[in-house]
Symmetry: none
Subunit: 231 residues, 2 copies
Amino acid sequence: MNETPHRILVVDDEPSITEFVSYALKKEGFFSDVVDNGEDALALASKNSYDLFILDIMLPGMDGYELCRRLRSKTTVPVLFLSARDTELDKVVGLEIGGDDYLAKPFGVRELIARVRALLRRGSGGDFPGASHAITASNITLDEDAHTASGEHGEIELTPREFELLASLMKNAGKVVSREDLLRDAWGWEYLTETKTVDTHIKRLRDKIESAGYDPALVETVRGYGYRFKA
Amino acid sequence: MNETPHRILVVDDEPSITEFVSYALKKEGFFSDVVDNGEDALALASKNSYDLFILDIMLPGMDGYELCRRLRSKTTVPVLFLSARDTELDKVVGLEIGGDDYLAKPFGVRELIARVRALLRRGSGGDFPGASHAITASNITLDEDAHTASGEHGEIELTPREFELLASLMKNAGKVVSREDLLRDAWGWEYLTETKTVDTHIKRLRDKIESAGYDPALVETVRGYGYRFKA
DNA sequence: ATAAATCGTACGTAATTCGCAAAACGTGCT
DNA sequence: AGCACGTTTTGCGAATTACGTACGATTTAT
């Protein structure tokens, strides 16, 4: 489907975040290295060549801004900042320094991937216009650009959570997705929500699928493991 | 779609600006090289041939004026100056020296592109007659040259901001555009304004669409993600 | 100087999310 | 077959969040 996979360097000291990010990146076919401090980041950056840097603003020792400044003195590779929420001021500072985009925690996989794609696109080539990001399975098409899910009977009206949930299931159509994975995909990391809550949303999702004229059994439950979208 | 893409050389030392400019240019189908100082600019300019120069006035070492003078001694290629806001005086100086146009920060994508097009048109043949820059969707046509939006019930009177907003939405008709993207497209600078402000302008836009006899629901809101122009 | 346009804040309303608790279901065992 | 146990479904109300709208302050254009 693609050419050479993009290489991404992730710099963050919180393991829960790096795990989440690198997991998401890998799943989308990106290559990523992870380090937890600025010094190692600089060392790696000069050894290997990356297509994108993802930096947390808060880092032990050299902070994200400083790191960005140093990276920028050598290269023109795009930078995506991560930061704790509600730090409005940081936005301006980060972008002035040369960060290309900014993502406030908590963020979800889809949002992260979208930004990463956008930044990589900016750098080189870009994907073709009309390369719509859509998934189709069992006569349902989920269009990520338009944020719609539809089939022969028309559109299925979904709330954000339901949409993310369906997206995660359909991306893995035919495979079981655990409640934990669903939480990760549709909610984002560090969301201390009960895995039980997934069940509730699955119900609402099935309800809407049914009332839109489709088969609610498209979302199969795999007892003891999770859910699966019928392939 | 087009013949040979125009080549543009961007000279600015602020990465956030060069990113923004080259991104905007690429999106419109132009080719751009970026350098952050006058010396490199001269070197590149004598090696390659460009159709337009975009110069920041404030540059480390040789400033934009000086650079313009030197470029002008060799070629007749048009020059577009960029400068920090509120530097009214620069305008005169820049244009006297041989700059062909002038753009004060902060500027928006569309404004930038408009000037670039105008300058390129001046220089060579101009873009083909009839290559009108118009977008049509759902029976509304937005003419970027004339700066008008109209349909079967006549014209929709819009303020500049509303026009940019509608343009951004219509360019992505059928796709959701986030408030952040709208800010970037219609305002030009990311993060300098509140995303909530977008809502206000959307309302005003819908009001005008409605009072002009069209359906305000053409601008759909996609809860949790942004807005979408009905395809 | 006057009018137009822009921007942000405040607040009401409606949509969405969440998790408990009870009911329904599936499974294995006797 | 019937029972017991764990799992999933479902209903429902409370808390949260997003959106629309109004309004006033500020900036910009004429």
